[in-house]
Symmetry: C2
Subunit: 218 residues, 2 copies
């Protein structure tokens, strides 16, 4: 029974990593579509969101089935309820990739305001956070999880920087307002993606160390 349970846990971890890879691809493609002004790719991101949603539902059901069937002890039980929460966080990230794509399709209907430099950098940082938070989960690595929480500050700084720059565009030339606001939304969506990665990392620290860092400064 225990061996069977361990095998099922391993399969679950794989599924979560697979879902994570799908979400990373969604985010990366959303930013690629923005930078390369490729509305078809943006549309594909929007259409692929349902695949991430289906994974979320499946992981949830797997966890419930494992709990009901194996009635695991405290540690494994917490691992499974954490997995359920993590798949929700991933699903929300995919929604944000969809939001990025929507804004990028709108932006594509007007001339480009400026070349994108900080947004791809921010996306790259956010993607790293997503990947590392999931690695931290499957390997129960709370040190890695704590480093993800710290990286969130970099993202917040980039978001503020982008916002201030766009604000000056808007004040100097009101004609840029609509475009600048759309770009600031995208920056905000990336910040929220990083927040979700941070949520995952905080869940991992709690899972491994039993310490709640969710609601305090790390």
């Amino acid at each position: 029974m225990q061996r069977h349970f361990d095998e099922e846990l391993a399969t679950l971890k794989e599924k979560i990593l697979r879902m994570g890879a799908m979400v990373e691809e969604q985010i990366a493609n959303a930013i690629k579509a923005l930078v390369e002004r490729d509305p078809e790719l943006a549309q594909r991101v929007i259409e692929n969101d349902h695949r991430v949603n289906a994974m979320d539902v499946q992981i949830d059901e797997d966890c419930l089935r494992l709990i009901a069937l194996h009635q695991p002890m405290a540690g494994d039980l917490r691992f499974l309820t954490t997995a359920m929460k993590i798949s929700t966080e991933l699903e929300r990230m995919s929604d944000l990739a969809e939001n990025i794509s929507e804004r990028s399709i709108e932006l594509n209907e007007e001339p480009q305001l400026k070349p994108y430099i900080d947004i791809p950098r921010m996306a790259q940082e956010a993607l790293r956070m997503v990947k590392e938070s999931l690695d931290a989960f499957v390997n129960r690595n709370s040190e890695l999880a704590r480093s993800v929480c710290k990286a969130d500050d970099v993202i917040d700084d980039l978001n503020h920087q982008i916002f201030r720059e766009l604000l000056s565009f808007m004040i100097e030339d009101p004609q840029t307002t609509t475009r600048a606001i759309r770009i600031s939304f995208i920056s905000k969506y990336l910040e929220r993606i990083a927040d979700h990665a941070t949520n995952i990392a905080e869940l991992v620290v709690y899972l491994v160390e039993g310490k709640i860092i969710r609601h305090m400064d790390v």
Copy 2:
């Protein structure tokens, strides 16, 4: 054992409703502080957020303890894992009430841009959604939950309307840009509070009917 479990479930429901009431108060006070230009009240909302966080942790622990101790059957198990997810949604709403308060403190440092009419209306609608989604949960009322999901459209429309109005302010007079953007953030935070209420309502429909409406049009 079953009677004891039922009593514990009743206590858990009470706790969730109490947490919900706290979150509603946080949101209502955040908007009151904005409209009445009362930065002290806004500050109080920010300081009270940790009380909501503590409730979230406690509800989570209660659910885990109930699952481990009583090894409930499928229906009750799903109820408990849903409760864990709902307390996360409530905690996120309180974070957004905190964000509203931060913007409202900033806005208070400058003259008022315009009287607030749509924002309080939007807040009222969002508060009703929060309340009804929780009532739907404790009473397993999927019809009420479905009506919450539908109400989300009203909020989205209000958010767009507020945004368009603020955009015209910014384009006509760039001096208003910073303030207009802060107000548009508040409108966006309220929209996200309503999204969290919708998430709760969708969880309730799934709990009661076994149907996933999370990822489709209701």
